[in-house]
């Protein structure tokens, strides 16, 4: 995959360029990344469909 002559993978690029991050969940994680100088955007995640898992599963399949 990433050996000489082979195409770079998305992981190779991550290691080379460093992380630019979409953060889902704890806002503190996004703040710590920003403090370290990394590019970051925070997603204020909520349970889908007010927490109804079956409905969320169905919506996930429809969308």
């Amino acid at each position: 995959m990433s050996e000489q002559g082979k195409a770079k993978t998305a992981l190779d690029t991550l290691l080379q360029d460093g992380p630019t991050v979409i953060n889902l969940g704890l806002q503190e994680f996004a703040e710590a990344l920003q403090d370290q100088g990394a590019g970051v955007i925070h997603v204020d995640w909520r349970p889908p469909a007010g927490g109804d898992e079956e409905l969320a599963e169905l919506l996930g399949k429809l969308l």
Binding site: L11, P19, V21, L24, Q27
Partner: protein, 516 residues
């Protein structure tokens, strides 16, 4: 004592925010105890054990917020619960970018993103991870309680598409000097490390830093990656990437013992490593030798770090060693101050790897211990919430963290456990770990200082002496003040050693002497 409750249906808050809410409520005059939790089964059980029993609590679901208060003044409780929403307001974000609400909105705002960090409740996390992979993004997967079949499907997808899933249940990673999750601020350098053990990675990176070298990348893979079900998919992906990475000269691999089939496959792969490699499978009794090994093996994290730095620099390494004679004197002095019935060791760990490494060191000396996360050959605790004989508890295990923050952030369960151990007159030694770094508590030592003081006092009141021995995993670059944290412990008479392995060895020597 009065008790009061409020339930907010379908109001989701993350566990770190709720911990802060509970702390602020608990500081109000007249409030003796405050809890703010999502209504998961584990949390409802916890409320019951703490005496919070009410029909509205029993019927709350995992997406309902429960606030439970205890205090002497019923009117004060009602006053707070009536205006509860005032307490549920977040402080303004420090983030410079606007906050989004879905992964796709996030990607639209930051199209150059190459990684998604996921720290949401486990039952929803796999769906978001899948979405991230389908958009060509690597995943740092902090959430735990993710189904094994979901983990396998995600990692197979990533494997096919040149991506990595670091996790689930992955506490830490460092990519090109940027720490994700619970990471320490360490120097950049030639050593790349892969690990299925979060605190193991943290200890290793800190020890490499202390030895004067540095880390290119530390890639977490999640606690189950080397099980036979997952067969090391993320470990193998990371290994290939580190072999190709020009910043990495030496590779280290840290894990609990892999599954049997996976171990054989992995050893074969390690023997083909394109770079010098150190393997440390904590808890393994013996390394199978399928042929001429092209990698070196280590028994402890200290040894793994030493070998990796030696391979990277070509120079012998010596960590700041503690004078063994001074330690012997200290052990004799502490032993002499103890009461005759004191004989047991209790380890109350925030770091799962530290609990595991300590068990290995006890097993090496033939000391049988109980644990909620027992190493092969050790005994499972019949009740994880109560210690028996020699006990080492991983307070970061899933049973203690469902719906609440990890003990590196929220010390409340560990505080209670230390105080419970202090009531047992047979306890002689308490073994503790303190983990600094990004996203950990601003003062891990400060959180437990009063409990440590109380524990010492209880033993003195009984005419004995409680030995407390600890290690602090961190560097002088971490957001917390490493020297100050160590000083706080030493001022209370805690023996602080430079690594978890050394602290466990001190505790082991003391307990073995008490058995004589």
């Amino acid at each position: 004592m009065e008790r009061g409750y409020a339930i907010r249906k379908n109001r989701y808050f993350d566990s770190v925010f709720l911990m802060q809410v509970a702390q602020r409520l608990g500081e109000q005059p007249g409030i003796e105890q405050a809890l703010a939790l999502m209504g998961t089964e584990e949390n409802k059980r916890l409320l019951l054990t703490m005496g919070f029993e009410a029909p509205e609590v029993a019927t709350a679901g995992p997406n309902d917020l429960i606030v439970a208060l205890k205090g002497s003044d019923a009117s004060k409780l009602q006053e707070i619960l009536k205006d509860l929403d005032v307490w549920l307001v977040r402080k303004p974000s420090r983030l410079s970018q606007a906050i989004t609400h879905t992964l796709d909105q996030g990607l639209e705002a930051l199209p150059q993103a190459n990684l998604v960090s996921i720290s949401i409740p486990g039952q929803y996390a796999a769906r978001e991870a899948r979405r991230a992979l389908e958009r060509g993004l690597n995943v740092f997967f902090f959430s735990s309680n993710v189904a094994m079949e979901d983990e396998l499907a995600l990692k197979q997808y990533a494997w096919k598409h040149g991506l990595i899933v670091m996790g689930p249940d992955c506490g830490t990673a460092i990519i090109s000097g940027i720490g994700l999750g619970f990471a320490n601020a360490v120097r950049r350098g030639p050593i790349g490390v892969i690990g299925s053990m979060g605190t193991g990675l943290q200890e290793f990176t800190c020890l490499v830093h202390k030895a004067g070298s540095g880390i290119s990348h530390a890639i977490g893979t999640g606690s189950r990656d080397l099980s036979d079900e997952i067969s090391g998919l993320s470990t193998l992906t990371a290994l290939e990437a580190l072999e190709a990475d020009p910043q990495t000269a030496v590779i280290a691999l840290l894990s609990k013992p892999p599954g049997e089939k996976t171990l054989h496959k992995l050893l074969k792969r390690l023997n083909q490593s394109k770079k010098p490699l150190v393997a440390c499978f904590l808890g393994i009794r013996e390394y199978p030798r399928p042929g001429e090994d092209r990698f070196v093996t280590a028994r402890t994290l200290d040894e793994a770090a030493t070998l990796a730095v030696q391979l990277a620099t070509g120079e012998p390494v010596s960590f700041a060693a503690v004078d063994p004679q001074r330690l012997q004197l200290l052990i004799a002095e502490q032993r002499a101050a103890m009461a005759p019935e004191q004989r047991y060791l209790r380890g109350i760990f925030a770091g799962g790897t530290f609990c595991y490494e300590a068990q290995q060191l006890m097993r090496d000396a033939g000391l049988m211990v109980f644990s909620n996360a027992p190493l092969e050959g050790m005994c499972a605790l019949s009740d994880p919430w109560r210690s028996q004989a020699h006990t080492l508890v991983d307070m970061g295990a899933e049973m203690f963290t469902q719906g609440r923050p990890h003990p590196m952030i929220d010390a409340s369960l560990r505080r209670q456990r230390i105080l419970a151990e202090a009531e047992d007159p047979e306890v002689a030694v308490l073994l503790l770990d303190f983990i600094l770094g990004y996203n950990a508590s601003p003062s891990p030592v400060g959180d437990l200082l009063e409990a440590i003081r109380q524990a010492k006092l209880r033993a003195r009141q009984r005419g004995g002496f409680l030995s407390i021995v600890a290690s602090v995993c961190g560097t002088e670059e971490d957001p917390q003040d490493l020297d100050e944290q160590i000083k706080l412990l030493e001022e209370l008479g805690v023996v602080v050693l430079p690594s978890n392995a050394q602290a466990a060895l001190f505790a082991r020597t003391l307990v073995l002497e008490l058995l004589q």
